[in-house]
Point group: C2
Chain length 199, copies 2
């Protein structure tokens, strides 16, 4: 038995594809959307398309941007001699929230994960090496997630950068082990940054 009119059923179906949205939430959201002014729904639909079409990777660090370079890389006030290496663009946001870090970033795209078939060649490591080789880089702070994949990636990067005579550090384990950088609170993340050690 089909309970919903077809456009409504289709909307619920599309909403349910989003992470963390099940049958009940999808239905609740769809019902809410039907009660929204048409202009608001149009604005939401356009924001979806617009973000997906216009957001791409920063040509320098791999962070999300709607221009050629991202907000951080475009900022003349940032310290380009210090590169913070993170797994994903959402981690840049998490780091920026600390308001403690004044350097720039390098987004790997993922961590090395043999389980998921992600090897060193699948993440943006050669771009990182190139950036460091181009010179004027004093320190590379590795801020991959504090889990197995993140640690493996950190060690791999440290070994990779060793011949380049650059200082390599790892953010401190002030972060709960097994956690996710994206969801860490600002204070913990700031402490982790502050307590980084050479490796």
């Amino acid at each position: 038995m089909q309970f919903f009119a077809e456009p409504l059923a289709k909307l619920i179906d599309e909403l349910r594809r989003l992470p963390g949205i099940g049958a009940k939430t999808g239905q609740r959201l769809a019902f809410h959307i039907l009660s929204m002014p048409q202009g608001d729904v149009k604005r939401l639909a356009e924001a979806l398309m617009d973000a997906r079409e216009r957001i791409r990777s920063c040509s320098v660090c791999g962070n999300w941007t709607d221009g050629e370079t991202c907000i951080v890389c475009s900022d003349p006030g940032r310290d380009r001699s210090c590169i913070c290496v993170v797994e994903r663009p959402e981690d840049v946001i998490a780091m920026e929230r600390t308001r403690e870090y004044r350097g720039v970033y390098h987004v790997l795209g993922a961590a090395i994960s043999p389980m998921e078939g992600i090897g060193p060649g699948d993440i943006r490591l050669s771009e990182l090496v190139d950036r460091v080789k181009r010179g004027n880089v004093r320190e590379v702070i590795i801020a991959t997630n504090p889990n197995t994949e993140g640690e493996v990636t950190a060690v791999y990067i440290a070994n990779l950068l060793r011949p380049l005579k650059v200082e390599v550090s790892r953010i401190a384990h002030g972060l709960p082990v097994g956690g996710d950088l994206e969801y860490a609170d600002e204070v913990t993340l700031a402490r982790a940054l502050e307590g980084r050690r050479g490796m």
Copy 2:
């Protein structure tokens, strides 16, 4: 400090307007959307617009439909002599899920609520009276929510329909199936006791 590129910030902002979606969830959904194939995002955006544009009220019962009458009212197999009165279209879905009810519906749009400034003239009561007056209605089952507003509305409808010589009933109050007697509130338990039936 603006952490996000403008189209991304706008998308998060639009997502946060939806019920139950806060800053973190909005961000998580937006990040997921950026990683989705462009075709999937387009389909979601179109589903949003399409549902909002095409879904309207059934001319008979007020349920949602993309045609002139809703799925229930269009079904020749439904018993038109029995009308179940509910507050909102989502309540029709809840009733349909039981697969027990073979009559038709009447959606009020809301319950009478002096606190929210919703009076009897603001909900679809005259339409209900018209339907009953048109004849061939044997029973009206009032399935408004079991809260103060729903009860007030139920009593109001019962009084309204009394001169029309139609049977008016109210869905039973009692313990939810699978519930626990120990944790039931007093009012529910009193109602369950009051509504006991021989077995």
